[in-house]
Amino acid sequence: MHALKKHTPMQWVVLGLCGLFAVLMLAPFLLLVLNAFKSGADYSSGGPIAWPKSFTLDAFRDYMSMVDFPRALWNSILISTVVAFAGTGLALISAYAIGIGRVKGSAVILAVLLLATMVPHEALIYPLFYGAQETGTFNTVWSVIIIFTVLQAAFGTYLLSSVMSTVPKELLDAAGIDGAGRWTILWKIILPVLRPTLAVLVVFFFIWTWNEFYIPVVLLADASSQTVPIALSTLRGQHSIDITTLNAGSLLSLLPTLVFFLIFQRTLSHGVTAGSIK
């Protein structure tokens, strides 16, 4: 029906303005793509907004020769995947005790966990830096994995506790009568009911951890343990690098999150609402 209705000029103007805003939002990405495929000489003669004379993969080859990209990609995937699942799992069992178990002091625990999500990482970094050195996890992915598993789980517990308090009591009572213990109820009843919310948490934790900057930049000084974004930013500090190389590196660094975003777009758009309790 809508398609048949004639649009007024005013409606086209509003659509045009929204479209124009979209182009402005996308412009930096378009510039990145445009310049990543130029040769260094082409860039210095034509500047950043000229169309490339020819498309070349030189800049990508240069970036790959300066940064061990496969290694960084593996580190990022390892860190983000472990944190996403471990953080969600940890949040699930903690929220079970608060949302269903209603242990004494639940409100205080939740308030404290909420504070943990707000505390600036600056106020933790120096002790964490020494802690990582003491435990031999400095310059290894494990320091970052442990820290973010706890930090993401703090937020996840806060979110899941409120979701769990909406699980129907009858469901739990029925299971209890059937003789199911707490652990069994968690896995056989709560987990399936909460699966959509848990999926959202996994996706969010993955992207948030992937993009983290401050703690990884301090704790992962060595190239062998760096994540994709940190490898890019370390390289940028060295002045002699071609802009086209950095463009190619940036494009490579944003591709994984972009692919992930496109795959999980539906989950995410439900998720931001869930995440909005943050």
């Binding site: 809508h2 209705k5 649009h7 509003v14 929204c18 805003f21 979209a22 996308l26 930096p28 990405f29 510039l31 990145l32 950043p48 907004i49 069992i93 903690s94 005790a97 178990g101 242990v103 966990l113 943990a116 707000m118 505390v119 600036p120 990482h121 600056e122 106020a123 933790l124 120096y126 002790p127 802690g131 706890v150 930090l151 789980a153 517990t157 209890g176 003789g179 213990g181 707490r182 992207i207 993009n211 900057f213 401050y214 301090v218 940190i230 890019l232 930013s233 940028r236 802009i243 940036s250 660094s253 944003l254 999150t257 992930f260 975003f261 758009s269 931001v272 609402t273 909005s276 943050k278």
Partner: protein, 298 residues
């Protein structure tokens, strides 16, 4: 076997997160506060007791006050502007574009606005430092091509750099309120709008009288989380300006970082981080209390 009802066993489920929280947040936070009472260069250097010396020094430190003044600009760029534009864009996409041109176009535009939100900050920072570059940045190349002979030095001019950083932050942030507000609008009862339409209220009138009051909970969440985020801004400053030129874009987190890792004044850095945490907790607490009150009176 009936379920165990011992009161101790629920704590078993909480044990992992309590241990994790203690090790990763509580102890480091307390140790950081302890550091703030010492003069310490880090590593093997000796600790010297300062008492509240770092705090008194901090409160008369011009750079520190400058960094908090800049935090207000960060709040404008991350909270005020994106929330206002975001609410308008969300309403236009959901009720206007979505209803007249179809939800697919609206979903596509929404995804476009949200894209910077999923970008690693290291990438976003690089793109903008390059786009804003005075010599071969895209903006200045464009300005020169249309005949501006002396384009501004976006990140190098102390009077301008802060606004350039703010521009990037608005771009980065805008998708967050748009997506949340669209989700919020989809839960508003359409009958409210139908009733208003019967009363002859126009689009703008409906926006002010129905839309805004109905999405208040989400509005609050966006303002709270974005404000906390604005007080913590770090990476965009490190990557775009390094606090410069002439310290014009220093923010508290960057000032703490500089003291920790560049100036080796760990005690002083810890003091900044402690004060920053207190400010963030206080702002969040005030907002939460204010929200509870207004909820009760509503």
């Amino acid at each position: 076997m009936p379920a165990k009802k011992g009161s101790g066993s629920w704590w078993l489920y909480l044990l992992p997160i309590l241990i994790g929280f203690t090790a990763i947040v509580l102890i480091p936070f307390v140790v950081n506060v302890v550091f703030s009472f010492f003069r310490w260069k880090g590593g093997m250097a000796p600790f010297r007791w300062e008492g509240f010396g770092n705090y008194t020094a901090l409160f008369s430190d011009e750079n520190f006050w400058m960094s908090f003044r800049n935090s207000i600009f960060m709040i404008i760029a991350i909270v005020v502007i994106p929330t206002m534009i975001g609410i308008l864009l969300a309403a236009v996409l959901y009720d206007y574009i979505g209803k007249r041109f179809g939800s697919r176009i609206a979903a596509f535009l929404r995804a476009t606005y949200y894209l910077p939100q999923i970008l690693p900050i290291a990438v976003a920072g690089f793109i903008w430092s390059w786009v804003l570059d005075s010599g071969n940045g895209s903006i200045n190349t464009f300005l020169q091509s249309i005949g501006v002979s002396d384009p501004p030095d976006w990140l190098g001019d102390p009077d301008l750099a802060l606004y350039s950083v703010m521009l990037m932050l608005v771009w980065l942030q805008i998708g967050y309120p748009v997506v949340i507000f669209i989700a919020a609008l989809s839960r508003v009862d359409p009958e409210l709008y139908e009733a208003a339409e019967l009363d002859g209220a126009g689009w703008w009138r409906q926006f002010a009288a129905i839309t805004i009051p109905q999405i208040r909970p989400e509005l609050f969440i966006v303002v709270l989380t974005a404000t906390v985020g604005a007080l913590k801004v770090f990476a965009p400053i490190l990557i775009l300006t390094g606090g410069g030129p002439e310290g014009s874009t220093v923010v508290p987190s960057y000032y703490a970082y500089r003291n920790f890792f560049e100036l080796s004044q760990v005690g002083y850095g810890s003091t900044i981080a402690t004060v920053m945490s207190v400010v963030i907790f206080a702002v969040a607490a005030v907002m939460l209390v204010w929200q509870r009150r207004s909820e009760r009176s509503a």
